[in-house]
């Protein structure tokens, strides 16, 4: 049997995917093309060095990167904030749309009256979401790989790929949580509320952790920490950290299946 639900979900997201692809391409391109101007302006680095440590951390400069160096610049403009936020918005909306949205519009009722197991339905939806997000990741990383050398950034190709993939995995953790909550509750409010509150809280904790000893322990449960630790833009994908995030995603996917399997589908 073909993955018909996966196909349907992706076809339904076609226009949205096109829009987000153009957006991410444009965003990355503008950031890249602005780099020469920043590099030639040493006051930019001085300015940021005067910022509080919290701001430096959420600018991705926590590991002592120079904001005017290519890696520091991309971390501060893309990987530590803009890109995770783009992935989070896109993926959480995707998860909510394909669970709560399908149920509310009653098309889920029709799908599930067909011979498809609920496990399969929700997992195909998850895979569609992963593929949709990967498309954006490929476009983002691809744009950097194409224009980085042109602008003489001197960063490794594995850095672009690794950093983009890491950030994608961070967002995917929250999106899979959204999928699980949407599948288990059918409530848009709960899905968006819990997931975005948790994402914002984790982001802030990640920003504050270097300053507040009490928060440091929380790094262990923070996807932002595991995704951005080890400076992937310089060192490539941190495989151990990435696998940890993947493991969390798999567990959450199991939760989505369990929550969806035994409950009543709404009309």
């Amino acid at each position: 049997m073909r993955a018909e639900t996966l196909r349907r979900v992706l076809r339904g997201r076609k226009k949205s995917l096109l829009g987000w692809s153009i957006g991410i391409f444009g965003m990355v391109l503008v950031v890249l093309l602005s780099y020469p101007a920043v590099r030639d302006q040493p006051s930019f680095g001085d300015l940021i060095e005067d910022y509080p440590e919290f701001v430096q951390q959420i600018l991705g400069l926590g590991e002592g990167l120079d904001p005017t160096s290519p890696a520091g610049y991309l971390n501060s403009q893309v990987f530590a904030n803009t890109l995770p936020i783009i992935f989070l918005i896109f993926l959480i909306a995707f998860a909510s749309r394909e669970t709560v949205g399908e149920e509310r519009e009653r098309t889920m009722n029709l799908s599930l009256a067909h011979p498809i197991r609920r496990e399969r339905y929700i997992l195909e939806t998850l895979v569609a979401m992963v593929l949709g997000g990967l498309l954006l990741a490929v476009i983002g990383a691809g744009t950097m790989m194409a224009f980085g050398p042109v602008l003489d950034l001197g960063l490794p190709m594995g850095g672009y790929v690794g950093a983009t993939l890491s950030v994608f995995l961070i967002a995917l953790v929250f999106a899979t949580l959204a999928l699980a909550i949407g599948a288990a509750t059918g409530s848009k409010g709960v899905t968006f509320g819990v997931t975005s509150a948790l994402a914002v809280a984790m982001y802030i904790i990640w920003g504050l952790a270097p300053l507040v000893d009490a928060l440091r322990g929380l790094d262990k449960v923070n996807p932002f920490f595991w995704g951005l630790a080890g400076t992937p833009i310089l060192n490539g994908l941190q495989v151990g950290n990435a696998l940890l995030l993947v493991a969390v995603i798999v567990i959450l996917a199991g939760g989505a299946v369990a929550g969806f399997r035994r409950r009543d589908i709404g009309v």
């Binding site: 018909e4 639900t5 799908s111 599930l112 009256a113 067909h114 035994r262 009543d264 589908i265 009309v267």
Partner: protein
């Protein structure tokens, strides 16, 4: 083996009543009408059969299979038209049918195309551009296109024009001729009277009557209209006659509602000058409304 068997099927949504203790058997090969006002529990019962919702207690067996344990197999062999049908707005009608056919597998393409023709489905138009009736036609095609053993149709003719209602009745009759079973819900009574052999009437979650359409009609309450010369009997005099449940007098014309034999009415009227007697064949609707009232009395 019955096509559908419900044993003390009960469903509560939290504290809200869905259906309570419904016992019902639908025989293979029959067209069974499931009647009741909106909110009575028709859709709840139907969605339980497809495992979209699970019983709070009791059980449902479909094609001899447990509705929860063997749901996948049931869904493979059943065609379902949801009440308040929803289709993906961004697809064309053809894309919807293609998608559902692939999701299901085993669709008879020639028959599907025949149905598209007979229902005059505008297959190249987007669902978002289709009227309610035209969407309903797409829903009917998808329910029938794989020639399922059992058709579960929730308000099948809702939104259809009379011509398309007729096509629906024909397709249902053909399915029955092929030995397939049809379980349909409706609140349009003449429709059920016309196509079903048996009806079940559900009210406030409880099945209050299961009967053959014919026997229901025999038990019918008749409406009799009488025109008199002079004098005209009083309303009270009419109401006192055995079997009369309701009487009204307006000018020289009286209208009485009578159950069972008309003998006592005819004999009592012999003393008056009767100019005209007109009896109305009771539509199922009247029977239904009466059962509904009786049920309400029980509850009250």
């Amino acid at each position: 083996m019955p096509a559908i068997r419900l044993e003390r099927l009960t469903k509560f949504y939290g504290k809200a009543r869905g259906v309570v203790d419904v016992d019902l058997e639908v025989q293979t090969g029959e067209v069974f009408g499931f009647l009741g006002p909106n909110g009575a529990g028709k859709t709840t019962t139907i969605r339980t059969l497809l495992d979209l919702i699970r019983p709070s207690s009791g059980k449902a067996t479909v094609l001899g299979l447990d509705s929860v344990e063997a749901s996948l197999e049931i869904r493979r062999r059943v065609g379902y038209l949801p009440g308040e049908l929803a289709l993906w707005e961004w697809m064309t009608a053809r894309q919807v049918l293609d998608h559902l056919a692939r999701l299901r597998g085993g669709v008879d393409e020639a028959y599907r195309d025949e149905l598209i023709g007979r229902f005059e489905v505008e297959s190249d138009r987007k669902v978002s551009d289709l009227s309610t009736g035209n969407k309903q036609k797409v829903g009917l095609v998808q329910a029938f296109m794989h020639k399922p053993e059992l058709l579960i149709l929730d308000e099948p003719t809702s939104g259809l024009d009379p011509l398309m209602q007729q096509v629906t009745y024909e397709v249902i009759a053909e399915a029955q001729r092929d030995g397939r079973t049809v379980f349909l819900s409706s609140h349009v009574l003449p429709e059920v009277e016309r196509i079903a052999q048996r009806v079940g009437i559900i009210r406030k979650g409880r099945l209050i009557e299961v009967a053959a359409v014919d026997s229901l009609k025999e038990r019918a309450v008749r409406l009799v209209e009488l025109r008199f010369g002079w004098p005209v009997p009083t309303r009270d005099a009419l109401a006192a006659i055995a079997g009369v449940s309701d009487a009204a007098v307006s000018g020289d014309t009286a209208t009485v509602r009578i159950e069972g034999s008309m003998d006592s009415l005819v004999k009592a009227m012999a003393q008056y000058e009767v100019l005209l007697v007109r009896t109305h064949d009771t539509p199922l609707e009247e029977i239904f409304l009466q059962l509904y009232r009786d049920g309400a009395d029980d509850a009250g």
